[in-house]
Amino acid sequence: MAQDSNAELVRRVKAGDRAAFDELVRRCHGRLYRLARRLLGNVDDAQEVVQETFLAAYEGMARFGDRAAVTTWLYAIAYNKAVDRLKQRTADAWLITGELEEAEVWRRSATVHDLTDWRADPEQNLVREQLQGILDATLAQVPAVSRAVFELRDQQGLSSREAAEALGLSEGAVRVRLHRVRQLLMAEVRRLTDPDGGER
């Protein structure tokens, strides 16, 4: 039997089909969980945010229009709920919406960028777990909105337009933040894997 599209599932949920909502949950749980985990940093908070997201979506489904994709709408709910939790944890607004260029890790990376000859390819010598470790440790030091942009664009494969819709940003802001995180990761991979810091 052919699988219903997400739009068809939404139509069925709106018509009162409770089982269709469970199908939507099964389909979208993983991607929302990954976003929430990236933002909140632990399994329990991420799982709770995902549960609250689906509950809010079910209760608000009648108000969901047809213009946006349901996944984008779910990402937006999950992102806002995760940010609400982060605000409960900290009064420092920079940690949520700040500019990456003000981060300590960014200042440190600037030196690496100035000194590095980018000819070599350090990733070739790294195993996946090492790269994942560098990625996780670096992203934990940047504002939440930059983490979300990178997660949606370079980890989950959304377009800039889709990420912008999900996060309530302009497409330009998504591209600028993505570019900064990529540059930061370049420097951090080099700094953490090359004993000479990649100096010429």
Partner: protein
């Protein structure tokens, strides 16, 4: 015309993503390419930038899905909050 009259390296590195996504106007694009032609360090930087972005994207595609029990926990949570879905119809009778 010198390289610095076109773009400096910092400017080129600022425009990288827009360049890769074809989002800069023709004149800027030509200046950008001319800078790359004359500047081996920026060429290497662009190659590294491209390669690393591909690495991160591949890592994202290969990410392990979250444990299936988390999905079941969510479905259970929703059942307690909004009620369970009706049992499947038995069409055999």
């Amino acid at each position: 015309m010198t390289v610095s009259a076109l773009y400096d390296c910092a400017e080129v590195r600022t425009f990288l993503l827009d360049h890769l996504e074809g989002r800069i106007p023709l004149r800027q694009r030509l200046l950008f390419r001319l800078h790359l032609l004359l500047c081996p360090p920026c060429r290497r930087y662009l190659a590294r930038y491209r390669a690393e972005a591909a690495h991160w994207q591949a890592l994202g595609r290969a990410a392990e899905p979250p444990p299936p029990e988390l999905v079941e926990l969510t479905l259970k949570y929703l059942s307690t909050r909004i009620g369970p879905p009706p049992p499947p119809r038995d069409d055999s009778s």
